[in-house]
Symmetry: C2
Subunit: 147 residues, 2 copies
DNA sequence: TTTCATATTTGAAACCATTACAAATTTATA
DNA sequence: TATAAATTTGTAATGGTTTCAAATATGAAA
């Protein structure tokens, strides 16, 4: 088993609506659709990836609304922003601290379910840890097969 | 002891000149000064931080030259680019894989000398690891004192 | 329902780090 | 010295993100 992380929700309309309401966010049509995308896709997407899919359902949506919504989700701890490739921010519905793996060949970003003993302790070298950001770069299992 | 990492070089003019030459880089005045800055400061600086200091010695230097030089250093594995704050790239003379700590209060970035067992093995979840990027966010020792 | 205040969305402009590019300058070679 | 190659420089372009004000939608009061 590659990952044993549990899903946050199912991505159903009623599901995401409750998620937004309990976070104190008004569940607008646009926000619901964006959050649904994040729940249905664990691909750590960029703003453009999200926009390109969501605009198929809501042709009038603007990219600014995608930015606004994601910033709001981050503020309310519904979503975790990741900076892995350096060029653009990626968004993760899984806000629990976890590692990632960026494949140099296919560009996919995978979850890596390993533990960091220092993060568990809460301190390193006398410094108080609040967040953990860890990722590997290399070749993923599938691309290794292709050779 | 907070860190037991060894220094790469002393930052002396003859030192950095040899570093550049053995990397196959022509040791121009600008490149020497930029590399010297990196050797004398282990503060993981941004392009602007480097420029602001170097321009005091070389008033005619352009920011493009700082970019060009750093990109060349990265290409020749003399310097490691870090993306930690998300907004701008930082540069590290220490190219050995190591962890970092970003203090939320003072903004300083510290080296953290811990080992990653997965990186040592070379694999996680069947994925081949080539690079390791890990950092913590929190409050550093000094800022904890101030309280 | 109508009215009015508030929240949200939208599109364009601004911002900012980085890159592209071509002209000017320096350096190396003959 | 003359010529070619490499480097530096300044400006313009690029691209992701934010700012901002106008347009639209929502919700409560009348
Ligand atoms: Mn993830
Ligand atoms: Mn470092
Ligand atoms: Zn791959
Ligand atoms: Zn601090």
């Amino acid at each position: 088993m590659v990952s044993n992380m549990k899903k946050i929700s199912e991505g159903s309309t009623v599901g995401v609506k409750n998620v937004l309401k309990s976070a104190g966010i008004k569940p607008t049509y646009e926000r619901l659709r964006i959050l649904k995308y994040l729940e249905e896709n664990n691909n750590h997407p960029t703003v453009n990836m999200i926009y390109d899919e969501v605009v198929k359902d809501i042709p009038t949506i603007s990219k600014t609304t995608v930015y606004n919504s994601l910033n709001l989700f981050v503020e309310k701890d519904l979503v975790l922003p990741l900076v892995i490739t350096g060029t653009e921010v990626r968004y993760d519905r899984n806000t629990k601290p976890h590692h990632h793996f960026l494949c140099e060949k296919c560009g996919k970003i995978y979850d890596i379910d390993i533990e960091c003993p220092y993060f568990k302790k809460g301190y390193v070298d006398g410094y108080k840890i609040k967040e953990l950001h860890g990722y590997f770069k290399g070749i993923c299992k599938e691309c290794l097969k292709i050779k």
